[in-house]
Each structure stands twice: as structure tokens, then as C-alpha cells.
Amino acid sequence: MTINVQHETPIYRLAGVSKIYRKGSREIPAVRDLDLEIRAGEWLAVQGKTGHGKTTLLQILGGLDRPTRGQVEFGGQDLASIPEARVRKVRASSFGFIFQTFNLVPTLSAQENVEAALIPLGVHLAQRRARVSAALDSVGLGDRAQHLPGELSGGQQQRVAIARALVKAPKVLLADEPTGNLDEDTRDEIISLLDTLWRERGLTLVLVSHDSSVVRRAQRIGVMARGHLSIRQDTRR
């Protein structure tokens, strides 16, 4: 088994990041003056109550949203200020997303859902098929490639979503409540799988969850409260 090697150089450097939503004349701050460094190969878990900014932080890290203020430096680029087309390219090549509701396209098979992640990268069909097959094998769903999401259990759907996140060999895996829709046994299976993949592939994993048993496995745990992030634990596994 390959052991995750962490680098001292941060892959992310966030400085003074705030995100404020506006609803009419009312301002709703979701993230406030956040400074954070995430090292390459690190597993950071973010815990917190609903509505305290966890998902917003994850979306800012994943280039899905831009902060109202501050810098989000990733790989030498400020995701907060570069054009959307460049953010999209970074998203396509460097980030893998895992969602609570799996977000699989219901009409596409497991194989095609995973393949969808390679479309923006312009990977050739034959290579695409090989990589998809390997990704599904890595999550133990090689024999379910032709199944539609509706024909799979919740755990299996989340595995497909993980395969979809991994197939592009991303630098960072961003997981938003990946076990939120799963029962306990399946939750443990998925977390174990993520743990294994993190270790084997040297990924940087940022996982948002309110489940303490999931969060405990991370190297560092941050807690979001009213838009502020505080790092409580640094286990340095």
C-alpha cells in the first residue's frame, strides 16, 4: 500500500476570504475573513452546524463560487480573480467533487456517469473507457458499469460518484457530506474507501461533514461557526 506523502508547501492559501450573500437589501455573511492553508496530500475535515458556511467554503475551494473578498490561491493562481474559463479548466483537471446526494445523471449508466468527468478534458474514447473501467474497479463496481443509478443502492451510487471524482486523477478531492444520505454501515464503507483512496493516491482531501465519526478520521479538523473557521485538532496522522 502506498502511503500518502504530505508536502510542506501548501496547495491552497486562503487569505481574508469572505462570502456575503445578498437577499434584497439584507446581507448574509456565510464566510468571514477566513485565512487558511491546506498542504498537498492533507486530509482536512470541516465540521459545523447547518448554515454556518461549510458548503460555501467547499464551493470556494472548488472554484464553484467566488468569494466576495479575499484571495483563494491554488497552484499559483487566485481562483477569486482569474477568468471563469480558467477556473473551469482548473475545476475540470484538478478537483474531484463528491456530493451528499451523489448527483449522478439518472439516464446515464454508471460507466457513462464516470465518463462524463473526462469529457471536458478531451480524453480519447478508448483511453476514456480504460480509465473509467479502472476507476469503477477501484471502488468495487466493475461489474455494475452498465447499471443506471436507479438500479444501484445509495452506497453504490456514492461509489460511482467517487469513481467519477477520481477518474480524472485530481489533485484535490472535495467531499460535501459524502455520507449524509447513507446508513451507518454504508457510511463506514464509504469513509473507509475514501481513507484508502486518500492514502493510496496521495490526494488532498477536504471533507465537510457534521458527523463526528467521519470527521475523526481526518488529519486536521476545522470547525465552522457563523462563518469563522477554527482549527481544533491537528492529528498529523
Partner: protein, 481 residues
Amino acid sequence: MFFLTYLRRELRRRMRQAIFIALGLAVGIGLVITVLGASTGVKAAQAKVLRALYGIGTDVTVTTKPKPPSARPATGGQNAAGPGPGGGHATICLNGKCYTSGTIDTLVSGDSGALSAAAAGQIARLHDVSAAAGGLLLTDTRVVLPSSSSAPLQPPTSVSVDGTDISHPDLGPLSNGKLTDGRTFTAADAHADVAVVDANYATANKLKVGSTVTLAKTKFTVIGIVTQPQASSPPGVYIPLARAQALATDPGTGNSMRGKVNTVYVTAASAADIGAVQAEIEHLLPQATVTSSSDLASEITGSAASAAKLAGALGKWLAVLVLIAAFAVASLLTMAAVARRVPEFGTLKALGWRSSRIVSQVLGESVGTGIIGGLAGVGLGFVGVAIIDKVAPKLSATVPSAGSGLQTQVAGSGSGPVAGGPTGAAASHAATIAVPMSASVTVGAIILAVLLAVAGGLLAGSFGGWRAARLRPAAALARVA
């Protein structure tokens, strides 16, 4: 490949909605095809009428106004009738000559004045002209004057005669005829007393190949019998142009028509050149009346013209309205479908998909639905056209006659005028004829239907696609939560 797989799966997933949108488009497109089919049918019916007048290949006809009759020292003027100097005999004056007995048989030019036969050659040499041929549309009128003053005067008989340019068989009224017996003219017939007769005239006068028909007191041997389309008012007899010129008289001047024609049939190099041809001829012959087939179409009246107007106005607008409604429904349903797929598109954006890729996916699905609707619409169009063919009433058209009659008055003994103009097809200036309408779906209509279907799909998809393109990934994903 992935695009098509995704497209196919999505269409199958939303089959009911896709069918609903496709049906809406199909109804609109079917109506367009039906209206076009009916319009084509009416136009074809009108074209039949026009072809009967001037032949298949004629785009433009050239005529000139007749000269007013010159004063002649004869009773009642040039063409007049009245009690003769004998006090009881009928007297008929034609072209300056008065008759009191015997048979009068004249071949005269119709409504049009005389043009030099060389005009056809000059027109043929014009830049945008493909071919031109001269012709003489004439009326042969025969009056038998009674030998005694007590005998009743028989009404005159007349027949329209076409002097045909044998060297241009594709132009002029005979070009539209279908030979049913005998043969048509050959170059050797240019100066021969031979005639081709219309089947209806032949039946009415018990003529067959080998019979003779008398025109201007000259016997012509019938060499062929032709039928013209049902919707026509054709000449009764066709004779070689040279013979017609030798025998005919210009009623305006009383002179022979040698070296003259009264109509020039012109074919333009292409349909787009018709306007240019008209202008060129008007420049060449400033006194001439230059008439295109569309000008002639406007002269047609009756239910055929009303049907043409109905198909062109009401039908067109009805089809446009239904199409707009179909496009609007398709657009709204597509936008609703996109709204339901916001999380899906948000996820694809999170995966790095370009907005344009997502838009093209939505457009592809809409165009796919549109094409299905278009094909169904073509089917509905065929059904609509078949129904029109079954239930459409027979149309009639009132058209300007090919020839016009000799204005002759015949007087009985001491009783003043007793008969008006000549009888027969050529007697009146306008003829009302039944026009069979046959609606048909043309290749052009099918192509238009497919284009409309694609346009409808693109329109619907562009609204949906625009909505999908505007989505920010975070906002779209928030819908999932």
C-alpha cells in the same frame, strides 16, 4: 458519441414530453404543408389555364394594341350590316367590301394588333431570352347570306385559329396539346394547307384525320387531333404560321397579315430573368404590351383565383399562427425541462463542462424532438393534402380568351340587326372554365417542413439552453440541497 448517447437517453427519459412537443410541432408543420399543398394545387390549376392560353414554355408574351378601324366608304363603315340597296337583301360590309349574297369566310386577327414577324427574331437575340416565336391568334368567321330576301339569315359561325410557328414547337398554344391521333406539324408543312384540330372541335364538327376544314375559303386537311388540359380554352384549329399570314386580314387596316404576327411567345433564360426580359423587350418595342405569366395570373378571376387568395392569405396566416403557438409551447416546455434539470447541469458544470457544451446538449435534444415533429408533420401534411383532394370543390376560372371574335352585325331583310358577334369559343373576350384542383406535396414543401422543424427545435432549445448557460454551478448545486 457521448453527445448522442446522452441525447438519446434524455429523449427516452422524457418521452411523453418529447412526444407532446413533437406533436405540437407536427400539427403546425402539417398545416403548413397542407396550405402549401393546396396553394401549389391552385397555382398548378392557374398554370394550366395559362398554359392553355400561351403554351408550356412561355414566360412572357408580347402583343400590341390594334389600330382603330380606318373610315371606308361603305354602308355603316368598315364592318357593318343593314338593309341592302336592293331593299330586302341582307348586306354585310367587311373590311371595306359589302356583300349581299354568297358565303363570307374571313380570317381576321383578334384583339391584338399586328407586329412585324421580325420582332420575334429581334426578341430572340436579347440577352436574357432563351427562345422567342411569333404566332397569329385569329378568328375564322363564316356567314352564309341567303339567296332570296325571304330566306332566314343563319347566324354566323366562327372558330379560333392559331397560326403556329412550326420551327418552335415548344412555344405557343399547341405546345401544351397532347396528340391523340395523326401527327403534328413538320418542317415540310410550313406552306401546306394542313391543320391540327382540337379534339373538342373535332368532335363537335365530326372531324377526323384526313377530313378537311375550311378557313378563309381555303380547305385544310386535318393531319392531327390534339387534346388540351381540361382547364383550358384552346384554339379550335392550328395551321402553319405562313399560311395563316397569307390568309388573315388585319381588321384595323383591312390589310393582309403577310409578314406579321400578333403575339410573340418568349422564354426567359431562367425564371429569375423574367423581369429583365420584360424590361429588355419594353426597351426594344416601346409600343408593345409585354405580359408575364404572373401578370396573366392576376387577370384570372373566379373561384380558382379566390382559392388562390384564400390559400395565400388566410391559410398562410393560419399556418403561421399555429406554428408560432407550437414553437411557443415547445419553448416553454423545454424551459420547464431545463428548470427541472438544474442540479444535473450544475453537476456537469462542477465537473468542468463548458456552458456551450451543455447548451449544445439541450439544443441537440430540442432539435431531435423538432425533427421527430417535422417527420410527423410531413405525414400529417400528406393526410391534409389527401383530404383536400377528396373534399375540395371544383374550381372555375374566368380567363381572357386566346382570340377574340370579329365584331360583325348581320341584318335580316328590312328588320335591322338580328345577330350579334360570332359564336364559338373565340366569340367572347373571356371564358369561364372548370379547373380541376389537385393539391400535392412538393419536395420544396418537405424541405421547408424539415427546416421549420429544425428551426422550431433550435428556437425552443435556445431558450432552454440560454437558461442552462446562465446557471452558476454553486447556485445550481444549491437546488439539490
